[in-house]
Amino acid sequence: MAESVGVGTHGAEDAHGHEHHEASFFQKYLWSTDHKMIAMQYMFTGMFMALIGGFFAYTFRMQLAFPGMEVPFWGMVTPAEYNALITNHGAIMIFWVAMPVLIAAFGNFLIPLMIGCDDMVFPKINRLSYQIFLISVIVLLASFVVENGGFGGAWTMYPPLSAKHEYSLTTLGSSLFVIAVALEFVAFLLGGINFVTTAMNSRAPGMRLYDIPIVVWMIVIASILFMASVGPLIAGAIMLFMDQNLGTHFFDPNAGGDPILWQHLFWFFGHPEVYVVLLPAVGITAEIITVFARKKLFAYRTVLYTTFATGVLSFTVWAHHQFIAGIDPRMAHIFTITTLLISIPIAEMMFVFIATLYGGDIRLNTPMLWALAFIAEFLIGGVTGIFLGASGADIYFHDTYFVLAHFHYTFFPIAIIGVYAGVTFWYPKMFGKMMNDTLGKIHFWGTIIPFNCIFIPLFVLGAAGQHRRIYDFTHFPELAQYQDVRVFATVSLVIMLLFQFVFIYNFFASLKKGKDAGPNPWKSNTLEWTTESPPGHGNWKELPTVYRGPYEYQTPGRDEDYWPQNVPS
């Protein structure tokens, strides 16, 4: 029975009485229903896709810096290839890296462990969700190698370009792209239902709503946002696929369709999606900051309320992506107001984290560095977003490199910094070993500094009027002069990518050489640290009971500075 096997089955033989039996490799690693193993599957798939996405970024940045020259490991970049590269870089980094790692991997690993139960409520659905996700990965990879190459119409897939093969010139690629995205949505719908139900129903006895760790709240709210926003796009994806292959005209203006409809269908999902990936990263930051500042989270409830506010508001702002895309100018006023309103809960969330540091006892281990970097860098992404949310300013900035730099200052902290923070923090729990802190810090600085060197210049280029998705700017007399800025950004990117190998080495070397972590290396309060690392099947010998909130650090009248949730007072 596949259910009874998973990571580190050893040491948990008699966990509520399954007799232990040696499982085949296939059962143990590929067909497992254990939430921890599925989390690992999601995490490694996501990291593999991150390598592909990073390589794409390297390729098209090289093309931009040295147009028309052979790119090492790739060759000449044709315009068609360039479009396919940027399209799939964006799609991969959001749908196949940020989503699987932040939501699925951490969600699967943390929710049962943090709310104190033995598994997800529907292990088999959980497995199915990963398998569908894997198929979507395969379909996407297949789309690169089919005739005419991968889809090159931007990850937003605006028709008619995406709808008609004679426009996109990628006959099979665009259809496979749509199928891959749709499958990915189905996978995360199944996963999301699982997360939400688990967190709602399976909490350990004694755990009230305000005793749930923030990261669990965040992943659950993110899953709900995803569920509520993706519906129209699933319908839209079906319509687009039929336009591509079955000769319908949903988005074809010459036969009574409307391309703007797709833009609305897409962004009605596309904007909440930003918060779907943001919230888990924020939650991870909250956990890490409280642990390493040895400090109670400042105003737990305020964080929750601001999150709810963000979630609701995020459904009312989507058309700020379309200000000059031909929507009625009067609509722009409404969406400007809502967009600027959403800056308030997000700002407050950041204030809360900064306030949490006050009066702390801050230790700067690698996870803490990542978490602090998340706040510092995300602030830049947040404030530059105001320029784009304000309709008047967006007239100039829309679709320039300013936009590009802005959302990389949001998505990089989310998808890269947030993930590294989470991985370095929970690595001891996942594998029972400590990562090398020195290598971790080298990797940290080697990533953060080049990252800023890549994207600060791109803000400047955007202000200078350079538009996105153009494979060679030397054609444009007003833009050719900035070539050396592009070279600088590209070189920084290469340096940053090289430093990632430090992490990969550290990750795998620590599996062997790392010193044993023990159950609670960070002296943390939350439940996952109360079982052995890595947790066996069933997570606990007997499931814990909760007596207090997750952030009781420095509680007066105790000699240790922390107070685990499961310790009776």
Binding site: A255, H264, F315, W318, D328, P329, M331
Partner: protein, 117 residues
């Protein structure tokens, strides 16, 4: 799995559901008869107004939302609100033929279907 729903079902016998079903069928008749008058208002009321009533009755009595936890109702309503929000914000662009500083030159749907000629 005994739960609130199970407990509350006790005082329902099957005839209750047959009654609901009979009402639904009657409503169905109304919703097909109404439009035959070819009067727009009556069509709208009978077709869509009745549809809403039918949906309400099915949800209340067959899906047992009447005895389900309140938050489920709010959950489903929230989803509906999002759908209406979507409609309200998209209609000005997709449904209208012209707006501030833009027009769609009217493309009548010449259809390959015989209904036209």
């Amino acid at each position: 799995m005994s739960d609130s729903a199970a407990a509350a079902h006790a005082h329902h016998d099957d005839s209750h559901y047959w009654k609901i079903w009979a009402i639904l069928c009657a409503l169905l008749v109304v919703s097909v008869i109404g439009p035959l008058f070819e009067i727009r208002v009556i069509t709208l009321i009978t077709a869509f107004g009745v549809a809403i009533v039918k949906a309400y009755m099915v949800a209340k009595n067959f899906m047992h939302l009447n005895i389900e936890k309140q938050y489920v109702i709010y959950l489903l309503l929230t989803m509906l609100v999002f759908v209406f929000l979507f409609f309200a914000a998209v209609a000005p662009d997709v449904m209208k033929w012209e707006g501030d500083n833009w027009v769609k030159p009217y493309v009548a749907q010449e259809s390959s279907a015989p209904a036209h000629h």
